[in-house]
Amino acid sequence: MAFSKHNFRSNTLPAMTMAGPVTLWLAFFVAIPLIYVFIMSFCSIDEAYNVVFKFTTANYQRLFDPNYVQIYGTSLIVAFLTTAICIIIGYPFSFLIARTTSKYKALLYMLIIIPFWTNSLIRIYGWRTFLGTNGWLNTILTTLHITSEPVQFLFNRGATVLGMVYCLFPFMVLPLYTAIEKLDKSLLEASSDLGAKGPSTFIRVILPLTMSGIFSGSIMVFIPSLGYFFVADILGGGNSDVIGNLIERQFQSGNNWPLGAALSIILILITLLLVKLYQKAGGDMESLGV
């Protein structure tokens, strides 16, 4: 009795007080809502658009509508392009701030963090003002006689990708920064001692060692870009929907919550699949922040 009481106070109680709140939090705000979404995806709606608990798989059948499938495709292409561009721009940038010995290192790091303090919706509207036909960029181009007529930069898929890259860039840079920061300088010296030139060192030493950063950055950019419907709306002009738009529409004007729930389940499945692939490729779950 005395022993078990001791055990309770030294083991169970601390574990409960520490893990308890987090567990409750996760249960209430993650697990229960997810179960709710899952259940709703099998529900029906009545003639007045009320959700009724009548089992149906019709919502899942509608997911195979050719238009929907095409939008999943578009959405994956947008997400893929966004991720690729983020890697191409983010890698040199992360390398620079991670390896620099300059006193401005902290400042460079802050340059990535500070835009986070402003709502992304507002920053996306900022891009619209900047890129508009009467915007700054066109004013500069026409004043310098680079173009005679204002160029329409907005309302196409390119503008959507640009907005996504802009919003999600920090999610690529931060894991890359961590991975590059961890790189042991002596390994680079060893590589050079063994006669490897710059490019060869990069491909055979640096890249494999920072692959975990690329993987986790890619996951963190790819997944949100499937759902960022407001970027597709504001910069894409609503001309090329992503999966997020489909979900939003069913909860708003389409007024079919069960179908919206089924679409959300698809998004969750894509996410799980990617995370699984990431794990299979040897990715570290901790660097995803989960």
């Binding site: 907005l154 002009g237 609503g238």
Partner: protein, 354 residues
Amino acid sequence: MKKYLLKSMSMLAAASVAALSLSLVSCGGSSGNNGELNIFTWTEYVPQSVIDKFEAETGIKCNVSTFSSNEDMLAKVRSEDEGAYDLIQPSDYMVEQMASQGMLEEIDTSKLTNLSNIGSEFLNPSYDPGNKYSVPYLGGVEAIAVNTDMIKDTITSYDDLFNPAYAGQEVVLDDFRAIIGMTAKSLGYSMSTTDRTELDEIKSKLLSFKPNVALFDSDSPKSALISGECALASVWSAEVALAMDEVPSIEVVYPDEGAYLFVDNWSIPKGAKNVDGAMQFINFMLDAENMSMVLEEFPYMCPNAKAVELMGEEYASNKAKNPPAEVIEKGEYIKNLDTETLAIYDQMWTELKK
């Protein structure tokens, strides 16, 4: 020891029961008929100055919360306890839907002394015959805007917007009922048609419209007009009015086919706790002077003819701010669709926007 525990536990239980009943009593007291009014309105639609004036005149405290779509509002009213709101603002088709589900209280219009301020074209509407459940507040028309500096042709109809010559020059509402409805009207059909062959025809015309649309925007379509990004628009009349104030070459056109019309209304949800206060508020909002205060801030189409009169000649003669009566008479309100038809609408909209 055990006894002590039991005793303390029962005391605790008694205390919590007492506390609970006390809180219930106080809760009942505050939300009862003691001069509080819970109003649920569209965002950016009822100015605070008008609410303040009502509070000062009547001593009724108003708690205002807002929504941004009819469907949001409906979901909220359904999920809250009955009596959470005393006054709501459903649009035309939503009045019909909520009334048919028994979600609205009947309004005794004989108590509304200011009802005669409403223009006759807005009374006894098709969505609520006899104004049994609703009193009109503000509304709008899906109007055409033309920048005459950029478009030299004469535009007179929704059908003109489908001309392939205007590729990439148009901004339209990001609203499937508005755009599918406009397409239906351009073919001479109802905006809420359920006829499958008509819908097939509407669909192919709708898909041919895609190259003309530079931008789908419901939030601020006037921006694309003002900046000159778009020369043509099919958007709410109030947006056209604001664009016209900025750019003199923009004109408003009401389509020959008859326009998409909407009116937002005051309604009292079933089980409202302060029906008297709600009726007072509706009557207050029907007063011409109070309504003109609203128009100063939000120049939507105003069913209150006396309030428009108070705004002066310039306002009354501005066709975008004050659509002519024949536009209202020729206009059409959208109707609720059955779930199967809505799915067809939704599918063609998805195909347009992919």
